[in-house]
Symmetry: D2
Subunit: 298 residues, 4 copies
Amino acid sequence: MQQSEAIVLAMFGTTVESALQDLLAIQATVKEAYPKTPVTITFTSNQIRRIWHQRAADPHYLAQHPGIPEEILHIQGILATIANLQDQGYVRQVVQPTHIVPAEEFHDLASYVRGLGSIQTMKPRWRPFQTIGLGRPLLGAYSLKHAYADDIRIAAQTLASDAELARSRDAALVYMGHGNHYFPSGGLYLEFAARMRELYPDVLTLIGTVESFPTLDEVMESLHQHQVRRVLLKPFLIVAGDHAVNDLVGDEEDSWQSTLRREGFEVMAEVRGLGPQVASIFVAHVAEAAAEAGVELR
Amino acid sequence: MQQSEAIVLAMFGTTVESALQDLLAIQATVKEAYPKTPVTITFTSNQIRRIWHQRAADPHYLAQHPGIPEEILHIQGILATIANLQDQGYVRQVVQPTHIVPAEEFHDLASYVRGLGSIQTMKPRWRPFQTIGLGRPLLGAYSLKHAYADDIRIAAQTLASDAELARSRDAALVYMGHGNHYFPSGGLYLEFAARMRELYPDVLTLIGTVESFPTLDEVMESLHQHQVRRVLLKPFLIVAGDHAVNDLVGDEEDSWQSTLRREGFEVMAEVRGLGPQVASIFVAHVAEAAAEAGVELR
Amino acid sequence: MQQSEAIVLAMFGTTVESALQDLLAIQATVKEAYPKTPVTITFTSNQIRRIWHQRAADPHYLAQHPGIPEEILHIQGILATIANLQDQGYVRQVVQPTHIVPAEEFHDLASYVRGLGSIQTMKPRWRPFQTIGLGRPLLGAYSLKHAYADDIRIAAQTLASDAELARSRDAALVYMGHGNHYFPSGGLYLEFAARMRELYPDVLTLIGTVESFPTLDEVMESLHQHQVRRVLLKPFLIVAGDHAVNDLVGDEEDSWQSTLRREGFEVMAEVRGLGPQVASIFVAHVAEAAAEAGVELR
Amino acid sequence: MQQSEAIVLAMFGTTVESALQDLLAIQATVKEAYPKTPVTITFTSNQIRRIWHQRAADPHYLAQHPGIPEEILHIQGILATIANLQDQGYVRQVVQPTHIVPAEEFHDLASYVRGLGSIQTMKPRWRPFQTIGLGRPLLGAYSLKHAYADDIRIAAQTLASDAELARSRDAALVYMGHGNHYFPSGGLYLEFAARMRELYPDVLTLIGTVESFPTLDEVMESLHQHQVRRVLLKPFLIVAGDHAVNDLVGDEEDSWQSTLRREGFEVMAEVRGLGPQVASIFVAHVAEAAAEAGVELR
């Protein structure tokens, strides 16, 4: 049994085939950085895994979608993904979430890693893991080792092309984040937007959320205050899935696009997930988690 | 040995005698709500405890400050405070921090409570604690049981008199929060300010931080944008200690007051800690933590 | 995804095909008791799993041993066995060791179960396990819930046929236990032997260990004291593997059989593992662990 | 605040003044070994602490027992003892039980130490303990670091004078241990007795327990088998408290002394606790726990 390293990419998952490409792009980037290390995807959503398993058993679906990797069709949850790697001798693992903020899903994932890492054996050589590290989300985690403020700055630098695109169209850049009522991701978003405005002062960058603070209303108030007329919408989400397609640019009258148009703004949209753009940041987070865990990735 | 309840108020502490009154006011309010339960203060700052212990041994100091309670002069840290209560039979405890946001100090406190609560005995009746609960900070904690957004709303409702005071002076209300680079308290502050503006729309409420995001510069940009001329400064801190006296309204040229005046604003200040105003919120958080822990406080 | 129950039998494992039957007999007995519940075997020995995986890839071996179950050929370790069941929706699991005493291996297994059981999620419904229980070894565990002394008594009652066999041959019954220097299994063995003598007073039952206290010398001293001439040897081990075949009845001059013969005793041996005899006790321990964990097995 | 070391001696406690001397003797021996380190006693029995507190408030009692140390009159439980030392700056502690075997009380104590040691702070310098180590009982703990078999051998070597005393009186040496049904201390006792017989072959050393296996009946059977006529009884207990005074040599007809006499044995007794004899072993266990925890005691 080899004693070696593996990387697990923990993703919420998606059932939208086009959005899946954003996730596979992250995997490809991490694989390129660590060509000798297995980089395995897990989907944390039970429901999304179930749908893929149904598709895997459906010859009709398979015939129509020839390109779906086996790994996705037979995708497993966190525990089985990590455990099967461990059973094959990968006793040094780094688990990297592709979450944007450290909210519910990240806390749950951290509990898995902590629980597995807590397994002690009387003789150290029988421990299931020599080490199991956890990378932080795009905008950082709550830890004194890495200032979240630095992670936000790096994200803003990495998304230069978004600002460039908005400027070329003479538009304000309005991101749609997810948001929630239990973890103050809204604050991270606002600080991210502030950093964008600082780095790209000729573009007004704002951000609202689907579910929480700040709201689209608060975004619109700002747009009015700055006397903006043209808006470029973009999801601040890893994949351009349901939220992007429906809540952001859907035809329903309560989509952001519809609402903004009703308010008199000229609206354009760039319906792409952040995944491919920020994959290199996740590579950096993998590298830092590995270094902290004393793992040398190859 | 009685089998009963105690409340521990975990405070960073202060050495400023006037600021101490803000902390004692919180204790008094909690005692009033639970007159049959001991309400014990602990200061988490080692340095502040040390200074009080030196004063306790200094007859000169004691003669000049006759009103300092014995409890403060002999103040203990978290562990000893909780443990001595336990040794006296208080096996059901609620620990209530007087922190504003769930940052480093709250996480450390939670680790104490978790560590103490993890002590198991083979026979349940010998467990040191029947229960030990933890209340959440003023603006909430990261948990699915209580939406932080609700805590923020309640804080904004509670601070109506601040908005009233600003309005009566025809001024914008600018709070100074503490801030840090590791926990996104800035976002909680911004959401709090948004709720204030919503509740009290005729007063422009803004908030900046001493150490992090949002900065005074970002506050000033907003003041200019709203064409504000008069500003009422107030610390968004439990006690009006060092930060309030020096960083906010100090004579140095880099205090907020000096900076704003240089920028042409007319500046007033209300140099009081939030403690007495928000004590009732801490009472509510004690009550909720007790209820969750199955403790009936009297 | 079904939300259902599974039983995991945690065994050290064996590579001896005949000894494997003792383990499969335990599995069969548990399956018979719970016909609607999957009863999955895991081998905790890395080396033994590796050997089975090599055999699984060796057509020659497979041709010569047609009866080995697929489950054994592709046997997995504790973590992967539990995790793959979890991934299939078995969120209520009972892990039952087939250890005789609670020594190193049991403590390690308990750490796995504790680590996996410690995984919390913010929303209870996403927890990987609704419950994961751990059964106790043959002679009990250190817990106040079940007196180890009762487990020992039950084991002695269950092994009546061993005493009967010794009596029919007019011999003392001498068991060989494993023993170790770190966990006082010797005391459990001695108490077991005392219970055997109490239940079956016309047979002198003694027990020694391969590795620790009590030794064969101490057994022989007792045999001499009781003026015994004939001895029936039997392994006090789940399977009749290496220790039974070599250390107990091997031709080498330091096997127990050789040593006893040299000392003038007439020696017979019953070279069978305890597995099939005590399988019903493991069923009872599964049932008790399930009841404590609130799991209803079918 | 000094950053220094303390030793806590965790004892069940006693209310018998003469027996208290056995405990104070242990403390004195440890103090002598580490003269610059505070060596603080805690009594784990709630009831015993309560009785001492009542005595401390009883002028009559105090007048009649002038020699009781203040430390005993105001004795605290484990948590408060450790926490008050921590509050005074003793952030490196070694907790040494004076238990004979690792049974219920030791497991509970270990849970306290583990719980306190689990308290983490975000900044390592604010951790309440730099280290908190736990020494093992007289006859060892279940760990791979120290073979319990070695601890038993050392105890047998240390108690040479007991064998000498029995030999000088031409008697068998019969110890009374405590025993319990949940932790196999009986096996440790039997192994201890076997080591005594090995080291001092001209004295028959046996051991029985008050509550469990092996019983006095089993001891008597052995005495008869060895055709012993004279017996020296001695408690295998740290203090000669209630069990020694009543169960061992009491006048009631079911005391060991009465029973043995009725059976025709000539009985002598040495009613002294083991405390002073084995204090040096506890010093050694303190030293080993300190070394493992990286603490240098002075």
